[in-house]
Symmetry: D2
Subunit: 269 residues, 4 copies
Amino acid sequence: MAKSKFEYVRDFETDDACLPNCWIVVRLDGRNFHRFAEQHEFKKPNDDRALHLMTKCAQTVMQELEDIAIAYGQSDEYSFVFRKKSRWFKRRASKFMTHVVSQFASSYVFYWKDYFKDQELLYPPGFDGRIVLYPSNQNLKDYLSWRQADCHINNLYNTVFWMLVQRSGLTPVQAQDRLQGTLAGDKNEILFSEFNINYNNEPLMYRKGTVLIWQKVNEVITKKIKLPKETEEKEVEVTRSRTQVVPLHCDIIGDQFWEEYPEILAEDS
Amino acid sequence: MAKSKFEYVRDFETDDACLPNCWIVVRLDGRNFHRFAEQHEFKKPNDDRALHLMTKCAQTVMQELEDIAIAYGQSDEYSFVFRKKSRWFKRRASKFMTHVVSQFASSYVFYWKDYFKDQELLYPPGFDGRIVLYPSNQNLKDYLSWRQADCHINNLYNTVFWMLVQRSGLTPVQAQDRLQGTLAGDKNEILFSEFNINYNNEPLMYRKGTVLIWQKVNEVITKKIKLPKETEEKEVEVTRSRTQVVPLHCDIIGDQFWEEYPEILAEDS
Amino acid sequence: MAKSKFEYVRDFETDDACLPNCWIVVRLDGRNFHRFAEQHEFKKPNDDRALHLMTKCAQTVMQELEDIAIAYGQSDEYSFVFRKKSRWFKRRASKFMTHVVSQFASSYVFYWKDYFKDQELLYPPGFDGRIVLYPSNQNLKDYLSWRQADCHINNLYNTVFWMLVQRSGLTPVQAQDRLQGTLAGDKNEILFSEFNINYNNEPLMYRKGTVLIWQKVNEVITKKIKLPKETEEKEVEVTRSRTQVVPLHCDIIGDQFWEEYPEILAEDS
Amino acid sequence: MAKSKFEYVRDFETDDACLPNCWIVVRLDGRNFHRFAEQHEFKKPNDDRALHLMTKCAQTVMQELEDIAIAYGQSDEYSFVFRKKSRWFKRRASKFMTHVVSQFASSYVFYWKDYFKDQELLYPPGFDGRIVLYPSNQNLKDYLSWRQADCHINNLYNTVFWMLVQRSGLTPVQAQDRLQGTLAGDKNEILFSEFNINYNNEPLMYRKGTVLIWQKVNEVITKKIKLPKETEEKEVEVTRSRTQVVPLHCDIIGDQFWEEYPEILAEDS
């Protein structure tokens, strides 16, 4: 069983290193999540349990893998942005993609019960992923804006659609017909006039999706210590600074977000 | 929030279609499984629960995805071979890789308790994957032979190593020193003379790994039927033919396996 | 001027090695050769000088570069097939492409006057190239068949078209209208009934294009030698065997060609 | 001869579009130019005829192809920089590479006699090319600096080396030994003390290489016109503005060049 005789097959592997000095984005999507959502009775148009589980998985990915500067998620998708200068696994595209989706997928099952309680997970879900490079900061911001604009458009549509179905008793086909050709303003108007809903008061998480960034947080923890010359332990409060992944539900299309968190894009040319 | 203004970012996605008429192999490996095995108290040198769970996950991958002709696994790795002529997802490499590893990873957590019972899963594991193309049948067979030869070499080493540690009380470093520079024959001899073990009698699953192929199996199922003119139901046995994923623990380096299952490689030129 | 400070830019080069064990085809085409042909008064529908010059350049490419097993040319294009097992320049795609087109282009100007005599070359022509991999012999044969079928279709069309223009006095637009929707049989019929031309008697080089292969040829050369004990030189004929690039104008779609020259495809699996 | 039956082979072509919003650099090098230079009796260490011919070919490339913002050449190499936003041939890498090297190669033979006069060209030379992407302006400037620093280092070495050989009568091996381990300062010192040469007075073209940029130039041309009401033609001078490729021999490592010609890098983010 001379292994060496077969080792030539390694030469068939190709180098898939990502171009240096570009932002590396890995986006994943749930596979057949339309069916998955139905079978697991997701609340429509938004299921808080499902959205929070997605975000928990994304946080796990950011903590377990290296060099992720920011992530953005909505519905059954999440995008992870690796730093321009990352040298993780020699920037090999396959490593980035497979580590992200496998960590996300295993986390999804692992943390399921924390969010879905007694709603049982019926089968292990799949996710697909892709990788895209963005050379400039503007390109990256435009990518994230594209996803957030997509979130807005879909959520506005879904909000009206499900109101028409759930409250007005339309069939899905009737609701679809009703919305055919309507503009954003029309949909806002239907929500307001027929259901007394001001879309702008809908939860930010639904309208804006979820942004994950690294933030320094101060934790106050209580420690027991025994001072020299004293005989008894004493409780003291200690403030500790830690970097952790924080979810935000804010606009990332305008400049304000990037001005507030300049460190996300900060890398020398 | 004009989405269209940002849609140009889609042009940055690259086409990663695999060359037609080549076997597409996706191999995955557990991430940091050395540590994972320790923390979950895997039995050394082989843990049946872990090996069977790996195979269960691989079976799930073969059933859920399309066009996988054969899979081969050992230790914490599994290789999946997609058909030369597969047109699944336009042969996009990222689709193949991410679907395989995400389905595998979610299955690993989902089926964990079926194999590890009350040994709790402490955290969600990660897997990495890569994709390699093989133009000819011989190249593919050599790839699989390479992995099986690797299984043999590692398992022989590990079997002796852990005997020296577990039975002779050597420290890992001492065991490693003892085996430094030994050939296969030497290791067989140590096993036989010191531990009365004939390596060739070790379980096939440890020595050969696991091959997964599609096989037609006949199932006999019992049905209750009520014939016309009769008043009572009657039980009848029905034989049903189904294609399912079957695990084998056999040699795939020699010709015999390929002669026995010619359909695996059978595709017109 | 510390060069080292800038050397990081080399990391931006990507590895473009071709998959092993595949036929590597580089096809080049003249750039804007429609205009080039007009300005250099190429005879229509076929200009022997231009076709022979193309073949001379292709022969030079085969002789100067390594591992080219066969080449096929027609009109202003030529395809070069590198051996499956070639290790030339580590199979880097850019090396194959640029060496082929630059050698071809410089040869085109260099040998121009040998074929075009006092027809002066007005400007240096450009060529573009592409690279394609073919995993199996059948794929490669089908590629070459595709090019030869293309030659046939174009040449039949062009032969009739230019007869209509040159002999019947139709304008190009009229000739085009006349041929609109005609099948091969119709075109043969026009040639025969209107111009008394049997297409099958047209020169093979026009109908089949040019195949270049390596052939052992015996050369008889005359040497002057002086034998010991003799006082005068004497002429003797010596037969010398050499491998050279030979042009053929034959069918390569059927099996006969490949049976006659089995060595072209002969490489172990 | 149904062409359609073979057309499937087109699916084996891969998409090699360059990532958008990156500078695309194609660098070409003479193939075996050491030998070529000897056989054509190039003057050492620099042959003006050869350098000017290289630059003529590079100018032709810039004029014939599209979107080249700047080129830089030294010795037997030339780099061409395509604009970040170029959409030429859908940014296909093979198109950029093959058009550049084929146009350069044919021009080399075409213009040879304008520079080498009665020194005959013995055979058609080859060139190889590669393509590299640079995401940021700084990366691109560093690439060009790398090439110019390389020019400086090689030219200083060659200048001393050939002085030692040509004037001091050392053999090439002796000259090489003499220079082994010397720093730039040592080489300058040898030139000055032994050959009375101040390296900084050597021609800029040798020390800095050649930069090609687009420049508006004003041409004064003489036209004959006949004004209404006049009976005779009259000569008038007309100033016409044209954009043409201009060679410079200046430093491009420092900021001054880029400040003087900001339009080269000017493209919106």
